[in-house]
Amino acid sequence: MTLRTLITVIAMALLAVLPPVFYMTGNPFYLDLATRLTILAIAAVSLNLILGYGGLVSFGHAAYLGLGAYAVGVPAHHWLYGGLESWGLATTSGLVQFPLAIAVCAVFALLTGAICLRTKGVYFIMITMAFAQMIYYAIVSIQEYGGDDGLVIDTRSELPLVNLDNPLELFGLAYVSLVVAMLLVRMIVKSRFGMVLQGAKGNNERVITLGLNTYAYRLTAYVISGAMAGYAGALLGNFTTFISPEMMDWTRSGELMFMIILGGTATTGGPVLGAAAFILLEEILSSLTVYWHLPFGLLLIAVVLFGKGGLMGMLAAIRKPKSQETGE
């Protein structure tokens, strides 16, 4: 077990134990915080697959979170107020909503990815953001789902075995999902597919000359990442019981990117550490002052300027100052 794996395991163990303890000792707010953190960590893990391992800087990942949440909210809305019955989409069943979230996001990722991946560098950053903005304004224009105002989800998804109205069970589902997501990404990265993806990040031309169609590999990774983020979005919708276009604002996409950088790109546990640090910092700083964006922004700049390898890199460097960790 390498040091990075050890850090990841410890972090995950703390995340599993602390929130329920807080909840049972009469601090339900901290369980909420942990649930939010866990869900955003899933999104960050999914983004890390393309950003960290694939080198594809997507600035529109919040769109998938939002779409996933709307895949929960819209059927729940129709279940209560009518409409879309013939499509089978007027339902509160999670067995419909969650696959819907994944499917919608996968299709959106496929369509937009096919165009985005033709570009590279800053063009890629900006076109992914443009597509996210398009979805943002498209949702704003749909009055039935609240437009700018958003929509309250009256009924959470109904799933077998778990009751999402119970905050502990919701957290449990999010936690298990996070673990699965991390293992899934790890498995992908270790596979031949992942090797090609990482190879293309290092030197795309070389991988192409090896006779591999990196475009197809990247598009596949892009779709997987989008689908995972959509699943996280479905969880987020169930958690906040409120959906609004604001969820897919470009600043949210920036926050997801920051979580990965903060935690350490291209590591299994980095996005989780990053999400945790991000949420806790936001919570602590904003409770101290309304001007909390100032220290937050300074910290962001400092992390980018000086924080090589993010939290994961720094933690791993504490014990092994001389020998350089490679891989996990």
Binding site: M126, Q133, Y137, A138, G254, Y291, L298
Partner: protein
């Protein structure tokens, strides 16, 4: 459709396009030469507006305030280059995006602390504050014509600077091959700082020009930065000509969309649905155009020559 209304809206679109160009030209300069993605460019737009607004009250005249505020904004741009941007030139674009995202938060909050959340309404001299009747039905606020004139003048000045001066030659050379310019003994650090400061002044000027219409307020940059990025992406990063054409295109599309889209929609949907969906669709238009352009020409409309 009323023809004079169409003319007025076209002029409004032109005004928006020129303001966008002022912001986008700095962005594309910085990007083309320094290869630096600066999300915080629009914070300089806001800072310029605030400084100019404060100075208007101190100096008692908007125009003098603009003249004084320009070099101050340039100085702030220089400081940003020195302390945030310069250490990042060797990093990848992801780091640029994140650091300047942080810089936005810092500058917005500082503006909130210094000037308060309420924003500043900027008074105009009386001779700028009236209307001009072009024809009997064509009446425009005279200040909007001033913006158009100032925007065109700034654009012309910039073209002259880039195409006919030694600095412009270096800028063009830097845009096509940075390392070569450095190897030829040009003080590349100085050139970069200067380019950054010029970009800051252009963005600041746009903020100053718009502030008598809206006002100087925190968050004013957020509206404009994404649109400015759309402009330079559509135009082709690093291309001044591309930024100019794309800015006018986007300005016109955005304004005309807001003005006429609901009437067009009313031809085939209910009045209510048209009024509700038109604003959002017109907001989407510029992104649709950007996606279309990139799908067909991944390097934008006018990509500069390869380096």
């Amino acid at each position: 459709m009323d023809i004079s209304l169409f003319v007025i809206q076209t002029l409004n679109g032109l005004q928006l396009g020129l303001l966008l160009f002022l912001v986008a030209s700095g962005l594309t300069l910085v990007f083309g030469i320094l290869d630096f993605v600066n999300l915080a460019h629009a914070s300089l737009y806001m800072v310029g507006a605030f400084i100019c607004a404060s100075l208007t009250f101190v100096l008692g005249n908007f125009l003098i305030a603009v003249v004084v505020a320009l070099p101050i904004t340039g100085l702030i741009g220089w400081a940003v280059e020195r302390f945030v941007a310069r250490p990042l030139y060797s990093r990848d674009h992801l780091d640029h995006v994140l650091a300047t995202f942080g810089l936005i938060l810092v500058m917005e909050t500082l503006a909130h602390i210094i000037w308060g959340p309420q924003g500043i309404a900027v008074p105009l001299p009386a001779w700028l504050d009236g209307q001009v009747a072009l024809t009997e039905t064509l009446v425009l606020p005279s200040y909007r014509l001033v913006i158009i004139a100032a925007g065109l003048a700034a654009a012309a000045g910039l073209f002259w600077l880039v195409n006919y001066t030694r600095l412009g030659m270096l800028i063009r050379a830097g845009a096509s091959n940075r390392t070569m310019v450095g190897a030829l003994g040009v003080n590349i650090e100085m050139l970069f700082a200067l380019v950054f400061a010029i970009g800051a002044m252009l963005a600041g000027l746009a903020g100053m020009l718009i502030s008598p219409i809206t006002e100087a307020s925190i968050g004013m940059g957020n509206n404009v930065i994404i649109t400015a990025f759309v402009v330079i992406i559509v135009g082709g990063i690093g291309s001044m000509k591309g930024a100019f054409i794309a800015a006018l295109l986007i300005g016109l599309i955005d304004t005309l969309g807001r003005a006429f889209l609901d009437d067009i929609f009313k031809l085939f949907m209910t009045s209510d649905a048209a009024e509700n969906s038109a604003p959002a669709i017109s907001a989407m238009l510029i992104y649709i155009i950007m996606a279309l352009v990139l799908a067909l020409r991944p390097q934008g409309l006018f990509p500069p020559k390869v380096r």
